[in-house]
Symmetry: D2
Subunit: 343 residues, 4 copies
């Protein structure tokens, strides 16, 4: 189906290989009249840059967005917003010797199985570089959501099983020494989301959010509210008791949020809350065994600069995908609601 | 967006309220020439009937599919396959007193927030009854997959935290006595899936599968391969080592399956494996506190017959959604592959 | 892509072969709270029945819609509206001898080229019978549009080149005597359409309407406003002069309607107007030459009852497709407009 | 719905305003391994440049495509192909005085009705400039089609009612002197199209082609084969007689092509043939009456350089849209056909 377009009404088309001229996106369906400038996008791009994190590669990616269309005199026109981010500073030479074999944990083999051809200068389209386009699109979605007082935030829950910052830093020291890497868990919270978003039955808010977050490279799981823990709970404990807060007599609130902000696939006015698990970076500098395209077993040492853990840098990407889903579901709900019932 | 259509090329439109005349589906895009009859569908419907499970409601649902179109002399025509399943044996009276309040853990309030109207005779569209249409559509997808030697199976991993059958049965005794319910975890395996399915970057196989399974009522999480456990592993442990089996010298196999059968969002030729968490049935017979539409707090005792745990009955539904995703991705891959590279 | 689903937000899935158990449709995305009953649908079905027209087959089709879902106590729920219309009174025997050859002007050969299988009892899915589902869906769309004071009407412009009723009736006499058939032109007008509908650039209102109407069997052309005539006009004549009517000082009207109610693919507040050309019914009783599947030339006399001209019966179908497009574009516009600018 | 994405499997996202930094497109779903370079695209861009035609504006548009992604070492990767074309040489000053009024025949008013904001430096997104992105995408589609020996060509049928070249040139002289403009008719032929393309019932090949061509700015009608003429023909004349050519004993040919290459919405192996009508350029230099945003009537003389007739320049755009439809339907058919039946 050609899987580089995301969304139904707020639609993002993403493009770009890691070692090609640029990555970027086109946003079709952003409402007109929204204040937007390149600095809004650059701020999100900066959050996923490697330099700021102890866990990250030392590559420098001086990402700067160029808006090619859809914005006039600082406001969106309602037309497609095209954004490009030039690739700079990549060293294709680092990858030359990897073209003849399959790196463990990478998409080298599956990409060849699917397309019969790949850009072996780097991950190409399967590189984490692709997430810059997501962050850019997410910046626009966040601007739209902010008009409705909806905010998206995230935090690291754990890295390599550690939850304390000092333990995490010590872990990074060990990983660097051992040439290894770690995974982690991210939590994301969307606040201010009105009740009523989500389109049962197949486009439930959890289904849409799950699809969005599981499409991020390295994501291996997602759970909402009490999540996998709910599987061990009794109904009497997991049900959130409806309450009637004095300030809003016409709608219930809830005494807990095991539901993660959704009932029957529709937002219930509480915070939308999910956690996502990311696998360890597959590129490690310790020696590994693999096979080459010629069929022979072979020992591999990956050189170059790689993240010890992608989790710190993935936060803005998770938020971006969450924001895109919320923007899309918001517009979809308006279509049947005609502005009357949004609460 | 109107969320009752699933899929891109193998598209399923689902319809039906729990207490209306019928539920059903229309499958658009099923290839022609596939052997199909009503018994194929009834077999899957029987698996989700309540009668066979200790955990289930005592309602009898004598589900029988009627194929209205798309099949001629026992073969699919390539035209839409419409299937209806009449609703029988429902007792609307059981629900009459519930229309004025919001049942904890149910979609009553969110449904009103979204639509401003609901069929209060039962769950309506948010009832588990809706999954009969999924099972019917899944039966057709399974027939298609079987032509490619792809099979889908599932099992109960745990219920209420218990993994042994005797402990689970003992748990059901206690739940029945206490008027409570339990959640659980399901595991699903797709075998025989060729490498190359999945459409990066937004339509990765995990994203599509996640969306499908998270759209099932009560599903609160999904994980692939090592899943949330991967977040605590080192890269050196989580990477699956590529091997070259003698029998297939032109393609790698893998020494483990932490990836759950996918790399870079594309199937890698190993079993596709995921686990899904389901929350406890929200309808419990023990007394609960809630609020009514009139704003007043209220004590609630839900009568009628309800599942102690939906997990045993949800197995064919999970399989159905998995089969629909695989059928769809298979057709999508054929579109760019033209039958040449499928391996 | 599986082409039996129409629309983006107001989505119709159509199904059914002419000689199978039923035809019907599922409407996903109809807003909640709309008054709807089976009589609304039957009224449109009656308009496309053959009995009322001199040009029509003498087959009787006693079409009665059954609503299976989506309506509760006379109002739409916002859930999918499934409608089935049982097929009655067909005589498969009439078609038995046609299965071995290709009828001129019919889809017999192309259907086999595409699917390798077909229901030779009649046109199957390519029969005009399929349009009953369109008329049913159109009835629902018209109900929605009526809430916005939008109305859809149509008329016969010409049949076999004749525009006067008496000449048309005389033509029908001759066609019946000669065993021949005629085509014709239909005009459709949508009144009350607010300015602002249509989604540039690829989903212009004319593009969407064109796709809808050209999808009706036998339609060979469509033109908007001055249409093909515009190709011979000067710009100074074809431009509609903007005027400022006293009653609506905040928006222009136009001194003429060569544009057919649209500018730049967006409705301009004038009547939307188009004409569609339909080919003569391919089934004629006069002898024709064709080839059989065995490769041999063969003379063919089609028996059975067929329309001399489909144009009178196609009026409700054209209106239905026009109504579906307008309903869909209305909802799409609301998504970005949030009810503020609709004028 | 955000209407800037075209297609189902071969999907084109278009962007760009006439007076912004660039126009361009992203093609998602192009199969891998196709030879492609910027010169392929520039060749199509050159065909729509104004300089070569007597009917055209004297603006110079030195269009050069830059491919940002999706191509590696001269071959497509199967990933999104992003193409940008910088805007150069526009003179915004020419448009300054037009911002306060509604130009007759233009989308100024409808754009404001829809979006409440517009880029008044020129047509913005509703400018013909947008078609450069279509031509670029069409160049890629043509490369794909050429692998299947499918070719797309077009010609001018008439301009301002004239069909002879000398009469057309004389007409241009008069139009230039009078400050007026003319419309015209284009014919397009697709040769080599295999039988079996098109997805009944709503995605018939004529419906898809109609949508594509009617989405081009200024297009007011389309007809296939005998088209509007079919409405005056008898069935006995309009039916194309199936023949069995000696060279292809397993498939019929046809003795005429009134059907325009399609039966039942599916290609029949004959040339696909359609004609499209384009209105006269609305920008004329002769004085016109209109109204301003302030409500007052006003006389208008449009300065600047405008085409006397867009028809000569629209040929590559019509071909591009036709090629996009054929590429898309080809891939869609492969999905159900698995390469077995394409004939």
């Amino acid at each position: 189906m050609s899987g580089n377009i995301f969304g139904k009404l707020f639609r993002v088309t993403s493009f770009g290989e890691s070692h090609g001229p640029a990555v970027g996106c086109v946003i079709d369906g952003c409402p007109p009249g929204l204040a937007l400038c390149e600095a809004d996008i650059d701020a999100e791009l900066a959050r996923r840059r490697p330099s700021g994190h102890a866990a990250s590669t030392t590559r420098r990616e001086a990402d700067a967005a160029e808006i090619l269309s859809g914005v006039f005199e600082g406001k969106t026109l309602g037309t497609p917003i095209a954004i490009i981010i030039r690739n700079t500073g990549h060293h294709s030479g680092d990858y030359a010797e990897l073209a003849g074999l399959y790196r463990p944990g990478h998409a080298d083999w599956t990409w060849e199985a699917k397309y019969g051809i790949r850009d072996a200068r780097g991950g190409g389209r399967s590189s984490g570089r692709e997430t810059a386009a997501r962050a850019a699109a997410g910046a626009v979605a966040k601007r739209l959501l902010s008009q409705y007082n909806i905010s998206v935030s995230s935090r690291v829950v754990s890295i390599g099983g550690e939850t304390e910052e000092s333990a995490i830093n010590a872990l990074f020291e060990r990983l660097r020494a051992q040439g290894d890497s770690a995974g982690g868990v991210v939590e994301c919270i969307i606040s201010g989301l009105p009740a009523g978003l989500g389109e049962p039955v197949f486009e439930k808010i959890g289904a849409r959010m799950g699809s969005a977050v599981l499409s991020i490279g390295g994501c291996k799981g997602i759970e909402f509210g009490s999540g996998f823990g709910a599987a061990s709970l009794r109904g009497s404990k997991n049900n959130d008791a409806p309450l009637r807060p004095p300030a809003a007599p016409d709608r219930p609130s809830f005494g807990s949020n095991n539901a993660g902000g959704m009932l029957g696939g529709i937002s219930n006015g509480m915070d939308l809350l999910f956690r996502a698990a990311f696998k360890p970076t597959p590129s490690i500098s310790a020696e590994q065994e693999t096979v080459g395209k010629n069929g022979a077993g072979q020992r591999l040492v990956i050189k170059g600069r790689h993240d010890l853990c992608i989790v710190p840098r993935v936060l803005p990407v998770v938020e971006a995908m969450a924001a895109l889903v919320c923007a899309d579901l918001l517009l979809e709900h308006l279509a049947i609601d005609n502005g009357k019932r949004l609460i």
